[in-house]
Point group: C2
Chain length 150, copies 2
């Protein structure tokens, strides 16, 4: 149970991976607190964002817009249908596929949900200057680009 600081090979507080993971969980919790009253959850958010831009997409089409695996999307959609957040209808041309539609419930909360997400981001970045915010987003996008093409 002894340690010497100079021997530490790795400080998690200076590890990009560790910090990003921690920050992602803080964001998720904050957003969850804000959207739970609307009856939706964090993992459903990206899907709803797509559908609010226009629904009737197939799962495959949705998948092209959202950065999760197919199985993750399928499971989330199942929960959303269970909770009355979406409807699935047979695709007219392809018997394997289904079209995914918003329900009245999710149509109704669009504005509140956007506000929740915007406020979460705003509060999180509140201590950054405008230029820092731009730099921050730019750096994240750059690292994502690096990691996606590995």
């Amino acid at each position: 149970m002894q340690m010497v600081a100079s021997v530490m090979l790795f400080d998690k507080e200076d590890s990009a991976g560790y910090l990003i993971n921690h920050l992602a969980r803080l964001f998720a919790r904050e957003l969850q607190d804000r959207i739970q009253p609307l009856g939706i959850a964090t993992g459903q958010f990206p899907i709803l964002l797509e559908l609010w831009n226009g629904d009737g997409l197939t799962q495959r089409e949705l998948l092209g817009e959202i950065d999760v695996e197919q199985a993750t999307l399928a499971n989330t959609l199942t929960r959303m249908e269970r909770d009355g957040l979406i409807k699935r209808t047979k695709h007219p041309q392809d018997a394997r596929a289904q079209q995914i539609w918003l329900t009245d419930k999710t149509k109704a909360i669009k504005a509140d949900a956007y506000r929740a997400a915007l406020e979460t981001n705003q509060e999180a970045l509140a201590m950054l200057s405008e230029s820092e915010k731009v730099i921050f987003l730019g750096l994240i996008q750059k690292v994502i680009g690096t990691m996606r093409s590995e």
Copy 2:
């Protein structure tokens, strides 16, 4: 199924929360690929980092160093014990508590595991200049600080 770009209230590619979540998953997958051969998983990493600095801690003491909830830690420790990554012994002074110890297995992989984490970070940030790396980590830390105190 129509949309007009000018009407979009929210672009997820400019949302800090969305980007951070995506990046965190990319990091997790990259790290997982590297440490799976060592017989460990991503959620165990912060715990092992602590224990490699000195073991024999109680769960409570570990919790003070790691940014997860108590129940999350307890569950992860249970899996680690199951997999022979740690041992738990009764605390000599407190019958409620246990001390947590590394096993030969986890002692042996320390260097490889550090290397895996360092390489993950290095590759992820490879497209950033040295000063950008410093700025990036600093901004993340700043946002974490903001969100923790809300």
